[in-house]
Amino acid sequence: MNRIKQKLQEDKKLLSLYFTAGYPAIDDTVSILTQLQESGVDMVEIGLPFSDPLADGPTIQESSTAALHNGMTTEKLFSQLDGIRETIHIPLIVMGYFNPMLQYGVEKFCKRCQEIGIDGIIMPDLPLAEYEAEYKAIFEKYGLINVFLITPQTSDARIQQLDAASDGFIYMVSSASTTGGTSGFSNTTSDYFERIAAMNLKSQQIVGFGISNEETFKAATTHQKGAIIGSAFIKHITKNGANSVASFVETIR
């Protein structure tokens, strides 16, 4: 069974972390993954850096620019991840933008992911209609779960549609924002968490964007299955170095 599906069945709230591959240094990828697993993180999004990350705030933009400057490429990331399943057993998701995947070749990309043992893909700018028309069959052939996003503005009808198309979890964007917001959650956000929980979707939800500490993690997982932290983690390793993963995870739970 796909590791994401297995993880979603566990009776606990899931903590997932995002980091940009190739940052702070080009060869930090495996070390960061190992530390994340040892710190008890449930799932990881490995960010494939892109020159023009539209959905991201300044922190992830800057880490992406630095990673590209360090020489990170799609092939480089895959070669770093070869053999990773000998030691890393938690679900791994590749998160990025669609153009690098398209240039690598969608089928070749998916095939490499399967060989490595990647469980899922998040491509925010690959929309549902394009995915279903062109790429769904390829993702499925290589056993990859495609993760769809919803936001507070997504209509109920659209949510139902995305839920039906989803085979893993739904990535719930906490508010109308790019990544890295730190203002905490408003009452409107809590209402949104409750509203989505009450829809009884077949897919469980994991909340992302704006989760930075224990308080926001708890708020996000009151009604949902888990939460993803990205920018706050990147800020932490920028400040404390690539070997400081455990000291960040300890502050969350």
Binding site: F50, S51, D52, L54, A55, G57, P58, Q61, E62, T65, L68, T73, T74, E75, Y97, F98, N99, P100, M101, L102, Q103, Y104, P124, D125, L126, P127, A129, E130, A133, E134, F148, L149, I150, T151, Q153, T154, S155, R158, L162, V173, A176, S177, T178
Partner: protein
Amino acid sequence: MQRLRRLAHNTIAMNTLEKEKSYQADERGYYGDFGGAFIPEMLYPNVEELRSQYVQIMQEPAFQEEFKQLLMDYVGRPTPLYYAKRFSEKYGTKVYLKREDLCHTGAHKVNNTIGQILMAQRLGKTRIIAETGAGQHGVATATVCALMGLECIVYMGAVDIERQAPNVARMKMLGATVRPAMSGSRTLKDATNEAIRDWINNPVNTHYIIGSVVGPHPYPDMVARFQSVISEETKKQLLEKEGKENPDYVVACVGGGSNAAGLYYHYLDQPDVGIIAVEAAGKGVDTGESAATSALGREGIIHGSKTLLMQTDDGQITEPYSISAGLDYPGVGPMHANLFRSGRGEFISVTDEDAMTAGLELSKLEGIIPAIETSHALAIFETRKFKKDDIVVINLSGRGDKDLNTYIDYFKL
């Protein structure tokens, strides 16, 4: 799969009376293989709201009336179609200039911003955002926001803000806030990214006025429709002057491609009209400092659209170069990508040097100082020969005032 989908698109297109023209966008915003809406889900409600309503709103008689009235009274349309006698004599063919440089604000850009501000009002939006490179679209957007009393925020690369101080001042005088894009290369591409991020953060009250025929569907088609007034007028004017609506060639410079889309629009499916697109070669197509997307680009995704774009082997978007800030975009609108791939359009690239020379030449021959963007289109006559009785219409997309400093530096005037 690709082919099947295209067949499906064509069937849809053929079944829809309005979309019977094959070089126009289909229902899903595709021009052949190019177009679509590759947007994150955060933008889906905004873009879907626009997509589901834009055609209907544009076809409302009240909308049409207000749009046409403003184009006439405020923009100064119709713009003249001018027979350039001395220029024609020099190159041994009949050249007409469509004088978009005489539009209010000095370029064709305002045709689109007038249309989009009316669209924004009908969608109930109260806040307007835009991106700008050289500042022409920013000024055109700030102008219509002043006209309608709407809040206006223009994103502009920090580097461009330094280079284009007079346009920054114009936008400020018009009441707009100019926000510097500090990410990436700090130019047009990054200003566009910042505008998109703003829209993600303000999904309810904000309309994004994109300045060219780029971005996710429905923008390329909507902007092309607003700019199509250029070819609509050209047809009538040519009929008066030459006794026929169709010239032998239409010529325009292409960065994103909005002035070109406007001039080509009503000729796209008239096979007797040759379409010529002129791109900026910068210092030369193979020098690494160029913006000739058709020559250097590959199929990919930029700003929500599948099109031809300049990128690394790994799919990272690269920085183009041209002396003209308005042609300095790493992609090209999907309409033009399709014109290139299908062979319907003839694509020519022109260097900085040849463009500057052509700009100076038109000034001396016709008393018209063109924008450097436009000068690229004028430069093809040195090498691309036409028959004596050919009728060639060039879109004189903008005036050269904004480029005076560049002309001064270049020619040591």
